[in-house]
């Protein structure tokens, strides 16, 4: 298939035949009054069949826009797909007609949103919303759809599913609503589930229930999972691979163990170091100085350079590519450029344990 081995995303493309979703150099921009916002600017990653990948980053890094681009839920205008492709099952989703993408969306690719209250329709019963998707994507009548809906609710652990079908979203608790959302996503047996911050709005013990449910369902159905989150704890225990995003780019990808235990990009290291934990009691938390760059005034060169404790002159001029380090990890940082080998030694030495 592809032969651009220099591209670091090759690492995650191991076993080309198994790849379900392959996002290549995606660029989603927005034309707004003040100018052009390059929300996603060159994002590449891929998810294997049945694989689990997390896109992680802070607000505004472009992780949600990436997810919405895959679902083609970006309004154009103001949105512009300025480049790249999203290969899903061998087809480029960006080139599908509206009718074709509607078949994929909710059918082969399902999405679980962050806020279950706003993503469910408040004036329709749970049953009506569930059967709508089923009737659209499956060959069945109303009665059959209701049966499938009830089964879907039971599968996600909703007690008393038959009665729940006739209830409205406001009658359900937050955790229950999220279960309904998941049931809806699963009702059409998707090959890929995109979960956008599925537990962010939930309490800790409910978050635990939903995380266990998502993991359970993922193994049970064999669907691939693309998880969007800002919580590295959720990443560590839900997925196998992770792509860290910053300022519209993937800055580091690799297996969860590699990225979280031995971060190769200064941003990932900074994020991990700034998480408070018991071991840091009484000590100052390390911080990433400054803030995320203004989208209208992106710094030249590496986008993280103004905040990076390791930066030097070269970082301000050229932008590093995503450099493949070995099979399982790549990092968008000049530290890994063979030209600057001595600097990498300094990066590797001062700190043993990142977390």
């Amino acid at each position: 298939m592809t032969t651009d081995v220099q591209d670091g995303t090759q690492a995650l493309r191991a076993g080309v035949g198994d790849v379900l979703l392959d996002v290549r150099d995606l660029r989603t921009h927005f034309k707004v009054m003040d100018g052009l916002v390059k929300a996603v600017d060159g994002v590449s990653f891929s998810v294997r069949k049945g694989g689990r990948l997390a896109l992680v980053g802070e607000s505004g890094c472009g992780k949600s826009v990436t997810a919405l681009s895959i679902m083609r839920l970006i309004e154009t205008p103001p949105g512009i797909f300025a480049g790249g492709e999203i290969m899903f099952n061998g087809r480029d989703l960006l080139r599908l007609s509206d009718a074709e993408i509607r078949k994929v969306r909710g059918g082969q690719i399902a999405m679980i949103f962050q806020e279950p209250m706003t993503s469910l329709n408040p004036v329709l019963t749970v049953g009506a919303q569930l059967t709508e998707a089923i009737l659209l994507h499956q060959e069945t009548d109303k009665k059959g759809a209701r049966r499938i809906a009830q089964k879907a609710l039971e599968d996600v652990g909703v007690a008393d599913a038959r009665r729940r079908l006739d209830q409205y979203p406001h009658e359900l608790s937050g955790g229950m609503r999220q279960r309904v959302m998941i049931a809806m996503a699963l009702s059409c047996n998707p090959a890929l589930i995109i979960a956008d911050e599925p537990t962010t709005a939930l309490d800790v013990t409910i978050q635990r229930q939903i995380l266990e449910l998502i993991k359970d369902i993922q193994t049970r159905t064999g669907a691939a999972l693309l998880l969007i989150t800002h919580d590295l704890g959720v990443v560590a225990e839900t997925v196998d691979d992770v792509a860290v995003m910053y300022a519209g780019r993937v800055v580091e990808t690799g297996s969860v163990d590699e990225v979280l235990l031995r971060p190769r990009h200064p941003y990932t290291r900074g994020l991990l170091e700034s998480i408070p934990s018991q071991g840091k009691r009484g000590k100052r938390l390390s911080v990433i100085k400054g803030m995320v760059p203004n989208p209208f005034r992106m710094p030249p060169g590496c986008k993280f350079q103004p905040r990076c404790p390791y930066q030097w002159d070269d970082c301000g001029t050229g932008e590093p590519a995503l450099i493949s380090l070995d099979e399982s990890i790549s990092s968008r940082c000049f530290l890994h450029d063979p030209r600057f080998r001595d600097r990498l030694a300094a990066y590797d030495s001062p700190m043993g344990d990142p977390a």
Partner: protein
């Protein structure tokens, strides 16, 4: 001058450890009204018979899930909610009974930092007015805060204290990022020279990298101004990092209070055990054996009888559902060393139970052993 003079006691050490606030049997109920005449048909017992002390100079962390009453508790201490019963003593006097000048003086001594840095700053006011408004309200002949000049100087001083530039006073809230707005909220609270600050989820709305900046700032300010914090949050790692002692709330009840290290290493209440076991750990080597609680938090308008946690309690299940749990409300008991627990069977949450249900680590870390792991 860049350092604002603090009129609070400059040396805190002799007072350290003495109670600043003694909360005794505090209750805050909200009426549930129904029918045409809006008759009261019941109460939401948001805070129900809560007693504990906040010591001078400490950070008291309060954790619990949404609807457990932790915010209502803080707001009641600040006299922003009307208490239904109980007392809160400060210097031996019940502040819940304060009126007039006493109440006004109290409002300067106790301040609040809100969760939402967008909603808590008036978008039509420049920062100088946001901070100056409180000063104006608390102006006395001694502090001279009624003078615009004095107020502006103090506003500028405190903007510098929280790491912002003096001239930001002329700007409006929308010109700042989330982290900067939270800094303004902190400056607004501290400009009044308080002794006690109720921080209501101060970092919950912030990104991780900004969160650590604000936590560092709050730690610095606590030392610089001899502050006592009541730190409310649902993020257990944040609370663990910043608190000296921690209280756990469930459905209006304080179920456990202990020193932070003790609570995280040896939780004695089954709810605390479940809460701690639910937190996702960013270290992929930590593989917890998860304790998943069944069901949702019951409605605070119709809390379960007896122990409020009994409907979801894993320990009760293990013990064969003893009747006592559903009939008798457990009183808080001291388990030694000031570790208070409200559970009939707290002894059963032994080390073995806690270790078995919480942990299971593949490769424990050398430099930073997890106390619970060390226990196992």
């Amino acid at each position: 001058m860049t350092q604002p003079a603090s009129s609070a006691q400059p040396q805190a050490s002799p007072d350290a450890g003495r109670p600043l606030l003694e909360i005794e049997h505090l209750k805050t109920y909200y009426p549930i009204r129904a029918g045409i005449v809006r008759r009261t048909v019941g109460h939401v017992k948001a805070v129900d018979d809560v007693s504990f002390q906040i010591r001078k100079g400490e950070v008291f962390g309060l954790v619990g899930e949404s609807g457990c009453g932790k915010t209502t508790l803080g707001r009641t201490l600040l006299r922003l909610e009307k208490p239904t019963g109980g007392e809160v003593k400060m210097d031996g006097r019940n502040i819940l009974a304060f009126k007039g000048n006493d109440l006004k003086a109290l409002r300067r001594r106790i301040q609040v930092i809100f969760q939402d840095p967008v909603g808590s700053l008036n978008p039509r006011m420049p920062v100088s007015d946001i901070i100056g408004e409180g000063l104006m309200a608390q102006a006395t002949p001694e502090n001279g805060w009624s003078e615009r000049k004095t107020r502006d100087r103090r506003t500028g001083d405190f903007l510098e204290v929280v790491g912002l530039r003096r001239d930001y006073a002329r700007r409006y809230p929308h010109e700042f990022s989330g982290g900067q707005r939270q800094r303004i909220g902190i400056a607004r609270a501290l400009a009044l020279d308080p002794e006690f600050v109720f921080a209501d989820e101060p970092v919950s709305a912030l990104d991780v990298s900004i969160q650590s900046q604000i936590l560092n700032l709050m730690s610095d300010l606590r030392e610089q101004f001899n502050l006592t914090y009541l730190f409310v949050a649902h993020n257990l790692s944040v609370v663990q990092y910043i608190s000296d002692r921690v209280g756990v709330m469930y459905l209006g009840k304080l179920v456990e209070v202990a020193d932070v290290a003790d609570l995280y290493a040896h939780p004695r209440h089954p709810y605390t055990v479940a809460l701690l076991s639910a937190v996702p750990d960013p270290d992929p080597r930590v593989r917890k054996k998860r304790l998943v609680l069944h069901g949702d938090v019951p409605s605070p308008a119709k809390p379960p009888t007896g122990c409020r946690f009994h409907t979801r309690c894993w320990l009760r299940e293990q013990l064969g559902n003893p009747e006592r749990c559903s009939t008798e409300d457990p009183a808080a008991r001291d388990m030694g060393g000031g570790h208070q627990v409200a559970c009939h069977f707290a002894e059963q949450v032994s080390r073995s139970v806690a270790a078995e249900t919480i942990q299971g680590v593949i490769a424990p870390r050398a430099q930073e052993p997890n106390p619970v792991v060390a226990e196992a």
